[in-house]
Symmetry: C2
Subunit: 692 residues, 2 copies
């Protein structure tokens, strides 16, 4: 039985010709696979447009140019952050939607940065050359960091483009990504939240699905709309059942190439901790939101974010507890370690290197387990999940770091990143003290829960106060005012040292501890893992070539698949839903939240062609970060916008399957139908279709 | 500074003459204090009525007889369990309320047991005599358990009354409580949930407050209403500002006499674990409830329970993180250890015994920390928070235990408890498989999160399946049918061993592990703690006498205090709210949930005297379990029903203060006004007032 199962599972995990697995690098695209399986020629021209018309939303999503006039489409839930920052109690764009009739009406987002990938350059040798075999981990880490910062700085100086060295294959390769940045981004159109997120948390990660999860922005330069050379033509017909489609976007994180011991560490340490933290935050935000309508408005995007994470991480966790999933991972490991390696020349050397690296990674997890929680809480900052604290820490650290040579700084303060960082740091977006209060109180209480009331970090944080007393004090900070932030940054180390702002004082008070934890992470986990994974990658490349793309890194990738329904619980689930289905679902749920339709949709039902495809499913390989990715047809036309996976896709962090797992998109035809019939936005429709 | 603070705090914690602290034993009432402070003579007659008219709701609350015809008042939230069990999608008594116009309409509750305290007998010597100094903890535990079971059995045989030996002072004393039981209890009246719990989780543990948290039952014997000899006369005027009032009810648990190390253990181990567990359950129930209206109905009482626990335990946890609270505990400890003991004859001996016991308790906590989580999860059963699992475990264990001598059994299966246990076990109350599913899945997932995916207990539980797969399997159980439960219990060990019911199999599969953990708890924590606390109690009695009542044990206690407002955030909070305030709060919250008024209240506003007192605050010492306790005036008349504390009372588990901490009650006059003007229930009003 076990052998048969393993063989069966291997059919999936070893990615034979018939699987659509893969978030492919744009400089290493799957031309041969596409040709063999779909008889599709991936041309340079097609790829170039895909690269230059696809957009990274720096706040964690994707999007695409869809007109020559710099019009950009993304998901409503990716636009949410900007919508929220543009809203107030009196004018709630997030809830009520928005349309700019003219260019003059378009609303500038306070702190939205978009990136368009211009080029990729392999820099693995440069980065690795800095690290000498005799170096201790701390030296190796510093040398590597310096090498990366230098590559980035040189590229920035030469090209003026945002330049990021990206670590691929967990340390197996380093590529330099150069981006054109857009920081003048203006809101053009958003529907009501109730239709964008129809079904809310209940329907999240489910299919059939009925969300108009779409919004439009426009990029500006020098106060003029960007003339986009590359953009995707909006397909009026959109995706059809059985079509080959492509997804170009920025998947955030996958863990498919991690070793078994790393996954067990995730299962037993990282995920339980993460879930506990998310639950604490979500609960606090729900309770805060229940206290009144304005509270609810202020909490809503945070709440959506935590609720989404909770579902995503719960799915991952359930996956790692599922013997079937673990069996797949074990089978894939054994296939490589016991079978594939041994069939190749040099197998003994490969086998030894592979096993040693695998064991080293197991050892690293044991070390990491001893300080992962405090590292996460105090250094990555989950104990202080507050905008004001984040600002305070950046001010405290940046003023210190910029005095050091570029290569010696904490990585986020490298020269090539400072502009983007300051753009965020000086954002005039509103900050709500009462929302900050509940988030800080929850985070600091969670810190105490995890570490114990007598722990050093807890005592340094609380400084003799109760959590509530501390938070009261912290909220007398002046950092809500961007001018005060600028004053401190410009005043440098001395201004910061002199500051008696309680938030600055907290950031200062715990900085030594936080930096120690960071140092431990870098030298005891990050660098040794990189080295071990680099060994594994070397073996993998030698044995399998580069037929397996690297794990996701929130950089541009190409995925492909087929528009396709599936079976679940004995029922056939068709590839697409329709507007008719939307109204049926609202009716079945008695129009109760989160199934309440906006008035426009209730009144306008008669105007719609109810058979229009609305949301659809496809097999392409996606993950969080792909939200807002354009879905393209063979001709490179926009046929839909990806916004989610179904529940069967929740284990995609670890394994790709295509029997039932699907990503979910809003259909380009459905979007047009809604815009035309329900939203009074002829200008937008014309821009998308070219027709009147 | 520290000294002054300590002295100041001691003023509170050492309970001088002016404090109203105390949940007093009815066989050791605070006559002298009441005489001195309030010039009140606590007569035997007053006490006897208080004892015999006060009721324990065995599902975790309190109540009182309020007519000679067996009419009982309690809180709506204590009635909730019965209301829910009597409801269905078609007839939702919990949401919509209920009134039985005639005796024939009164609805029998499926499994509600009420207890009325008949007598208390000191049995400390009998229980302690069984334990010899040379005994090891396991022997001592067994001997003590056997002694307690024998005392109970003998009392039951002699009196026919429910007989429970209660451990007081954490092991310092043992008293035998004898109860008259009522198991035919019928629903008479309940208001709508929206008014009973007006303000919901938002207003829970807050004051000013606006809830009609009241319901009425009637006790029956031989199918006739009980002729109650003792009952509280309903005061038409009710509580007035400044009145001395009494609360007679069953406070559940306090921890005021626990040592500092025990409290630190609670802070660093018990409470963080409990909070994480409650959050997981509450989140799962919220998400389940959002999937549709019937889901919401089914989840609602569980959800209220978890939400209430979350607020209560969060309050405790914040209290233990508050330096002011810890300072009070340290000061009280030092006062006893350094000052009071040393002032007494025999001080050296006392001091030595006290310090040794204190140290022993600290050591016990270190041991307990190594297995508290698995003990809680698998033995107390929080990993399986399911009615069906609880049934399965009782069947598996009871069939085995009843074959042993009474004194050797797990305590819940002692002869004197079997009748009550079977009453619950064979309850025909509905069980909802989908609700069981979400609770089991959450509990079992939480077990894995806490213990790790490869832990023995987790592997034994999952038995090769994923959590979802296991739960699917478990829910094919036949135990939803009471006849199947009876069949197994009657079939005894053999029927249980032969059973292939998956829930029985799970209970069997983990029983060895669960019993081992229980054994460890009993012999490494419970028994040694009892012995150590008995030492401390001896010293305390020698030094202070019995001036400090024991911690709460869900047995009848007498508390007293003054009806009184307080100041908070610079504002005066009056002693009572009015109906006018109710309508204002609903308006201010735009009538959104949980501030939605029932139609009857919206339509009937004009009929009410809006100045009628509605909810009121008093200083009496209460805790969870006191819900539903009658509040009495000097004459022993019913002036209100306790239902909550304010947020300042959340640390009452550890310290009593009376500057701001209050318990909250519904006013007897307010209840009458609502019954008369809004609810068409003349029979009930007549029974309460004696008037037409």
């Amino acid at each position: 039985m076990r052998t048969r199962l393993a063989a069966l599972l291997l059919g999936i995990s070893a990615m034979p010709a018939y699987s659509d697995e893969g978030m492919w690098l744009l400089n290493d695209p799957p031309r041969q696979r596409l040709k063999e399986k779909y008889n599709f020629d991936l041309t340079d021209e097609w790829l170039e447009r895909a690269r230059l018309a696809s957009i990274r939303f720096n706040n964690g999503g994707s999007g695409a140019f869809v007109s020559a006039n710099g019009l950009i489409v993304t998901n409503h839930h990716i636009a949410a952050d900007a919508l929220q920052k543009l809203s107030s109690l009196e004018r709630d764009l997030f809830r009520d939607g928005f349309y700019a009739k003219s260019s003059a009406d378009e609303l500038k987002c306070p702190d939205l940065e978009l990136n368009v990938l211009q080029s990729i350059e392999e820099v693995t040798d440069q980065v690795n050359a800095a690290v000498k075999p005799e170096m201790k981990p701390a030296e190796a880490f510093a040398a590597r960091r310096a090498a990366m910062a230098e590559v980035e700085k040189a590229s920035l100086d030469k090209t003026g483009l945002r330049s990021d060295v990206v670590t691929l294959y967990q340390g197996g390769a380093y590529h330099l990504y150069r981006y054109k940045k857009y920081t003048d981004v203006r809101l053009v159109f958003a529907p009501e939240e109730a239709i964008a997120s129809f079904g809310g948390d209940v329907d999240n990660f489910e299919f059939p699905r009925f969300g108009l999860d779409v919004s439009f922005f426009r990029a500006y330069e020098a106060d003029k709309p960007v003339a986009a050379k590359h953009w995707f033509k909006w397909s009026a017909e959109g995706a059809r059942d059985g079509d080959l489609v492509f997804v170009t976007g920025n998947p955030g994180t996958t863990n498919r190439l991690e070793t078994l011991d790393k996954l067990k560490h995730r299962r037993d340490i990282t995920l339980p901790f993460t879930l506990a933290r998310i639950r604490a935050m979500e609960a606090a935000l729900i309770q805060y939101g229940e206290r009144g309508p304005e509270n609810k408005r202020r909490a809503t995007t945070d709440l959506h974010r935590y609720a989404n994470s909770r579902k995503a991480f719960s799915g991952q966790y359930q996956g790692l507890l599922d013997p079937k999933v673990m069996e797949m991972k074990v089978a894939a490991h054994n296939e490589l370690a016991e079978d594939q390696i041994l069939r190749k020349p040099g197998s003994e050397r490969h086998k030894k290197a592979f096993d040693a690296a695998d064991r080293r990674i197991a050892e690293i997890q044991k070390v990491y387990a001893t300080f992962e929680k405090p590292y996460n809480l105090v250094e990555t900052g989950t104990a202080f999940p507050s905008t004001l604290f984040t600002i305070a820490r950046h001010i405290v650290r940046m003023t210190k770091e910029v005095g050091k040579p570029n290569g010696d700084r904490l990585r986020e303060y490298r020269d090539s990143n400072l502009e983007s960082l300051k753009f965020e740091l000086f954002s005039p977006a509103p900050i709500y003290p009462d929302l900050e209060r509940v988030k800080l109180l929850t985070g600091i209480t969670f810190l105490a829960e995890q570490m114990g009331g007598n722990d050093t970090l807890v005592r340094f944080t609380l400084d003799g106060l109760s959590p509530a007393g501390l938070v009261d004090d912290l909220l007398t900070t002046k950092l809500a005012d961007p001018a005060e932030r600028k004053r401190l940054v410009e005043g440098g180390i001395i201004a910061v040292e002199d500051s008696t702002d309680p938030m600055i004082m907290l950031a200062r008070r715990i900085d030594r501890h936080a930096r120690e934890l960071r140092k431990r992470f870098e030298t005891e986990v990050e660098e040794p893992e990189r080295q071990a994974y680099a060994e594994i990658a070397k073996v993998r490349f030698a044995v399998l070539g580069k037929s397996i793309p690297p794990d996701a890194t929130f950089t541009l990738r190409l995925a492909y698949g087929v528009v396709k329904g599936y079976e679940a619980e004995g029922q056939k689930v068709p590839f697409a839903t329709t507007f008719a289905g939307l109204y049926e679902r609202a009716e079945a749920q008695r129009h109760k939240e989160p199934f309440t339709l906006p008035k426009r949709w209730l009144d306008g039902k008669g105007k719609l062609d109810l058979s229009t495809p609305y949301n659809f499913a496809a097999t392409s390989d996606t993950i969080g970060g792909n939200s807002g990715s354009p879905v393209l047809n063979r001709a490179g036309e926009f046929v839909g916008i990806n916004f989610d996976r179904n529940r069967f896709g929740l284990v995609r962090n670890f394994v790709y399957t295509e029997e039932q797992a699907r990503h979910i998109s809003v259909h380009s035809k459905g979007i047009l139908e809604a815009l035309r019939k329900l939203y009074d936005c002829p200008g937008l429709v014309k821009e998308l279709t070219g027709a009147d």
